[in-house]
């Protein structure tokens, strides 16, 4: 109301007003402030002294850490094991390759966050090209030393499961969403059963199915790579969730769009590809990002079927070393920080996007 007045008043007065309004507006509010402050001071103080003040930083021996056990964090375990944590048992001399692959994966994500790249062709080139590049970097061949998938591990695997898991789930998810809204009863029934079946069971059971049961359905002697099977399981699982995201977009479109397409004499596929899908996909972009975040977190479940993703690599690096195994908390906190950084950035991007897009639509 009086931006003029606030601007002219001295800063001390303004901050006092802010404090009164937000922290001390009533006796109950003041009490809350004091309680929260005490709790925070106690918690933050303890954590700070453990994680920073009394901690062992940089390269250090186990003995140094053992001397401080229980009082300070031993970040030396991360300094000592970070390569193993990030890249698993990938050959030491070739570790620039997974590092580069991580960089490429991250660039794919950052670039697809930019609106300039939101063209079907650009996105396809980016995701397919980037994925192929990463696959080549990891697997080798064509001038690079081949590395079998049994040696792959760490962060590139997590990113690969998430990125490929979304890339390939997308077409399937779109087909399922269209199938669910189709007028053909058998097609609709098949789509609904698939979506509801997959959404009704935990990812672990699907991973179990891929790792144990799947081999029984193949002709004798035929077998797929373990990592590939897990990847396929994740793709099939994600497709059901993406289908629901896309369906929400399809349902949000006004009927007039379909009728207009009909009036233009467009066939079913022309209507979907030229009129319906571009709009439905655009309005569900924030939901797609959220779905990707869930997928990214869910990839950590492959640890249960012994696939060397980032979490497994961190766990293995710390737990399997008898000297360092006591410092698993530091290792897990490091893993948490990495996961958190990815998910937090993406979820804030998604929130920003949501506001941005809704503003767009209103104008």
């Amino acid at each position: 109301m009086n931006s003029h007045a606030t601007a002219r008043r001295p800063a001390s007065e303004r901050s006092r007003d802010w404090l009164r309004q937000n922290l001390f507006s009533s006796p109950a509010n003041t009490l809350t402030t004091l309680l929260v402050l005490t709790l925070l001071a106690w918690l933050a103080g303890r954590f700070f002294s453990w994680a920073v003040l009394n901690a062992v930083w940089g390269q250090a021996s186990v003995a140094t850490c053992n001397a401080l056990m229980g009082q300070g964090a031993c970040w030396a375990v991360v300094a000592d094991k970070w390569q193993q944590m990030l890249f698993g048992i990938y050959p030491q001399a070739e570790q620039w390759r997974p590092a580069l692959a991580v960089l490429v994966f991250c660039s794919i994500l950052v670039l697809s966050a930019m609106r300039a790249c939101w063209r079907v062709r650009r996105l396809l080139v980016l995701w397919v090209g980037g994925s192929l590049l990463c696959a080549w970097l990891m697997a080798g061949g064509l001038g690079l030393t081949p590395v079998p998938t049994a040696l792959w591990g760490g962060l590139p695997i997590t990113l690969m499961l998430a990125v490929f898991g979304t890339l390939f789930a997308f077409p399937l998810g779109i087909l399922l969403a269209l199938g669910r809204r189709s007028s053909l009863p058998i097609l609709r029934a098949a789509s609904i059963s698939y979506i509801e079946l997959v959404r009704g069971v935990p990812l672990i059971t699907v991973l179990f199915m891929a790792s144990i049961m799947f081999a029984l359905f193949l002709p004798e002697g035929v077998s797929f790579d373990k990592l590939l099977r897990a990847q396929v399981a994740i793709i099939l699982f994600n497709a059901a969730y993406l289908a629901e995201v896309v369906r929400a977009g399809l349902q949000a479109l006004p009927r007039g769009q379909y009728e207009a397409a009909d009036a233009l004499g467009l066939g079913y596929w022309q209507t979907q590809l030229l009129v319906v899908l571009p709009q439905a996909l655009k309005i569900t972009i924030p939901a797609q990002v959220n779905s990707f975040i869930d997928n990214f977190k869910d990839t950590s479940l492959v640890i249960i079927v012994s696939i060397f993703d980032f979490l497994y690599a961190v766990r293995q690096a710390v737990i399997s070393d008898l000297d360092w195994r006591h410092y698993f908390v530091e290792g897990y906190l490091f893993a948490m920080a990495v996961y958190w950084l990815f998910c937090y950035t993406m979820s804030h991007y998604s929130q920003w996007l949501e506001q941005h897009l809704s503003r767009d639509q209103r104008n």
Partner: protein
């Protein structure tokens, strides 16, 4: 003939059916062949065989001589137990945090926001592993257990005094259930009276009194047992008392704190969805902030919250399958052991999926029914 759309549609669908049928047929053909060459017979006859493995936590009587079927039941009950308790805890924590996010107090708001942002952006399985590690590795061994009165905290988990089995305790439990049923009935009755007469009889105090008195009456009527089994440290283990395992505690804490972050967001969204005018009107009537929340805003917010809450409860139940990562004997963990021992992969996995599907359908059915009941009745 091709120009007929109906005919074309029929053709497409038959083609789809044929495709699915061929794939399934091929898979089944391979399956039969593979099972034959591995000498596995399909079917649930293994359910009657002796399981031969022990389960650390069970709600029903079980030992290794019991059958696989009974082991499966133990796992199912464990899954239901931890999910049920975690759903209650997650709802309470989530409600508190969600309301905290809208508090007039800046610090509390930021604290609640920080909780949500830090918990939901880290994979649940990592949180479970951390909790489990902390509980089993950083707590002292039994001999040096932390002690609060007769409750001990050690690597074995939490050990607390537990009533010795007696009819009186069961009677008390039955009394509590009866009291809850009566309270529910009375609350509905009160609402009807209010609709007719304009003022409602008291509900809260009579209900609380019933919840206190009925169990007490049951307990006294059946001999008023007072015998507790109090835990004592003897050597490397506890004698007496009840021990809640670190696996259960880790899973319970992990599931409830993780899901609480999502529930908090739902609560916040639900409260924000209630029109500003409702708050203003409640304020104009002179209601305090807690009264406004309890009487005006939450009942309306609940309507918006139910569908997303349902899916969070379902997620929690499905996420309880992560128990297998920390060794809590839930449905998945026991099915996994079973399939490793018997090789009956198809049956074990199908059964697991079937159970989760049934739970999912049951909960969403229940929630749909409730949703239908509390929906806005418009004139």
């Amino acid at each position: 003939m091709w120009s007929s759309e109906r005919l074309r549609n029929v053709f497409y669908q038959i083609a789809l059916l044929l495709l699915i049928g061929t794939l399934a047929g091929y898979a089944i053909h391979n399956l039969v062949h593979n099972l034959e060459s591995r000498a596995i017979t399909i079917g649930f006859s293994y359910f009657g065989q002796e399981a031969g493995f022990d389960i650390s936590e069970k709600l029903i009587d079980y030992d290794p001589t019991h059958s696989y079927g009974r082991a499966f039941g133990v796992g199912l009950l464990n899954t239901l137990l931890v999910s049920f308790l975690a759903i209650i805890a997650a709802s309470l924590i989530g409600l508190a945090i969600g309301i905290g996010r809208l508090s007039p107090n800046w610090l509390l708001r930021k604290l609640a926001g920080g909780y949500v942002e830090s918990v939901r952006n880290v994979p649940l399985i990592l949180q479970l592993l951390l909790w489990y590690g902390v509980l089993t590795e950083l707590l002292p061994p039994v001999a040096e257990a932390h002690r609060f009165a007769s409750i001990y905290l050690s690597q074995r988990g939490c050990t607390l005094p537990w009533p010795v089995a007696h009819a009186g305790w069961w009677a008390a439990l039955l009394g509590l259930l009866a009291a809850l049923a009566c309270s529910l009935f009375w609350a509905r009755r009160a609402r009807r009276i209010r609709d007719r007469a304009g003022h409602a009889p008291r509900v809260l105090w009579p209900s609380l009194a019933a919840c206190l008195l009925l169990p007490l009456a049951g307990w006294a009527a059946f001999g008023a047992p007072s015998e507790f089994s109090v835990p004592l440290i003897s050597g490397f283990d506890f004698e007496g008392g009840k021990t809640v395992s670190p696996e259960f505690i880790a899973l319970f804490i992990g599931l409830s704190t993780y899901t609480a972050a999502f529930i908090a967001e739902i609560v916040r969204g639900g409260i924000l969805a209630v029109g500003r005018g409702q708050t203003d009107a409640a304020e104009a009537l002179g209601l305090s902030r807690s009264q406004r929340l309890r009487l005006v805003i939450l009942p309306q917010a609940l309507r918006v919250m139910i569908p997303p809450l349902t899916s969070q409860y379902l997620n929690l139940t499905k996420n309880s399958s992560l128990a297998v990562a920390i060794g809590y004997p839930d449905l998945v963990s026991i099915s996994n052991t079973t399939l490793n021992q018997t090789g009956q992969a198809i049956e074990a996995i199908a059964l697991m999926m079937g159970v989760y599907l049934t739970i999912s359908l049951a909960i969403s059915g229940l929630m749909n029914w409730y949703n239908h009941r509390v929906r806005l009745v418009e004139r």
